[in-house]
């Protein structure tokens, strides 16, 4: 009966949304050429009209002329040297916003750590349970490879899909596998907190250095180099490396709290 009522309520909301959001669809369609009924939603979704155009063409100053500018792999001398444009936006254009993002992550982990102090310690994992032979031996072999792969993703964040957040998550999965395969393995979370604090302060320190060199916070004050090289894009790979360290340390310490190991 309750499920029936829920479904009825959801259907009512759905019908309401369909009636009202059909106007929203018209918003996308409104500017397009009606005589061409192809993909109405996308036909006018032109990146040249958006803020992202400046980053796709790697030219923010001469924005009206963006269509004449071309940028390609292996050239240099543009505002940002990062080949991955999403990285250009996340760590270049919105670097201050990313600082807030890692602060949110830090606050969530700090909340977990604060709640951990209230634990009654009734549900500890028994140390008598021995994990599987395959898990124990395979994790010894796989842990370095997983960490290497995570570092690869972090370091190539400005060239290929990936970056600090993704690589940090990969490293944290390796640490989780190590915890699961060695039940008696314990670690002090303060070590992770040290790495986390150090990388967070380095991020802000680079931003403050930019005030000295460029006059504003988190500007790209290094040479951008050639697009496609590992050493390019100025401070973007350095910032992403610190973000990767911070995310991996935070997620690893969270896993530590969840597994009730101190």
């Amino acid at each position: 009966m309750k499920k029936l009522v829920t479904i009825l309520v959801l259907l009512t909301i759905l019908i309401f949304l369909i009636i009202n959001l059909s106007d929203l669809q018209n918003y996308f369609v409104k500017n397009s050429n009606i005589s061409n009924p192809g993909l109405l939603l996308y036909d006018k979704n032109n990146v040249d009209n958006k803020v992202s155009a400046g980053y796709i063409y790697k030219n923010v100053d001469k924005w009206p002329d963006v269509q004449k500018q071309t940028v390609s792999y292996g050239t240099s001398g543009y505002v940002e040297g990062s080949a991955n444009i999403v990285t250009s936006i996340v760590v270049g254009f919105r670097a201050f916003d990313t600082m807030g993002e890692i602060t949110v992550l830090f606050i969530a982990i700090a909340g977990v750590a604060a709640l951990f102090g209230l634990s009654k310690k009734e549900f500890e994992i028994s140390e008598e349970i021995e994990p599987n032979f395959v898990l124990r031996n395979a994790s010894k072999f796989l842990l370095p490879l997983i960490i290497l792969f995570g570092l690869y993703i972090i370091i190539h964040g400005h060239l290929s899909p990936g970056g600090g957040f993704q690589g940090g998550s990969v490293i944290a999965t390796g640490v989780l596998m190590f915890y699961l395969s060695f039940v008696s393995f314990k670690e002090n979370p303060l070590k992770y907190t040290f790495i986390e604090t150090l990388s967070g302060f380095s991020y802000i320190f680079i931003g403050l250095l930019s005030i000295i060199f460029m006059g504003f916070f988190l500007g790209n004050f290094l040479k951008t180099g050639t697009i496609g090289n590992i050493i390019s894009a100025g401070i973007i790979p350095i910032l992403y490396f610190f973000i990767g360290l911070k995310v991996s340390a935070e997620l690893s310490s969270t896993l530590l709290y969840f597994l009730d190991k101190e």
Partner: protein, 133 residues
């Protein structure tokens, strides 16, 4: 109404909306706290899919400069992707914190069912009131 138009509408608009409503249905009907958390994550996924889909450009490719790229290649809009990257990380942080809260609730009430937690909370408060009197 060509087939291409219908598929694109589903991909960008109705598909994510359906996923959001599946999550909403889960939040409203399930009583297990873990299942409610999973439903919230499913809603998150729907919203993220919608935001990424809005940035799609016809015949667009991933916004990464690679070797051998010609000027005919069109990128999809990278700005919604960057926004979704932020949203995913924040949803991860919120999920981790709420999972820990669920663990604490289980330690206190020995149950994940919200109605039984509600009953136990009521009995606790009633007992406390009697003690006070």
């Amino acid at each position: 109404m060509s087939l291409e138009y219908i598929v694109a509408n589903w991909m960008v608009f109705w598909g994510p909306l359906t996923i959001v409503f599946i999550g909403l249905y889960g939040i409203l009907t399930q009583k297990n706290l873990l299942k409610i958390l999973i439903s919230i994550d499913v809603m998150d996924l729907g919203v993220n899919l919608y935001i990424v889909g809005v940035g799609y450009v016809k015949n667009g490719i991933a916004p990464i400069l690679t070797k051998g790229m010609t000027s005919n290649n069109i990128f999809v809009d990278p700005l919604p992707q960057a926004l979704v990257l932020t949203a995913i990380v924040i949803s991860l942080a919120v999920t981790a914190f709420s999972l820990f809260l669920v663990i604490k609730l289980y330690e206190r009430y020995n149950s994940l069912d919200i109605s039984s937690i509600y009953d136990k909370e009521n009995t606790f408060s009633n007992n406390n009131n009697e003690d006070d009197v």
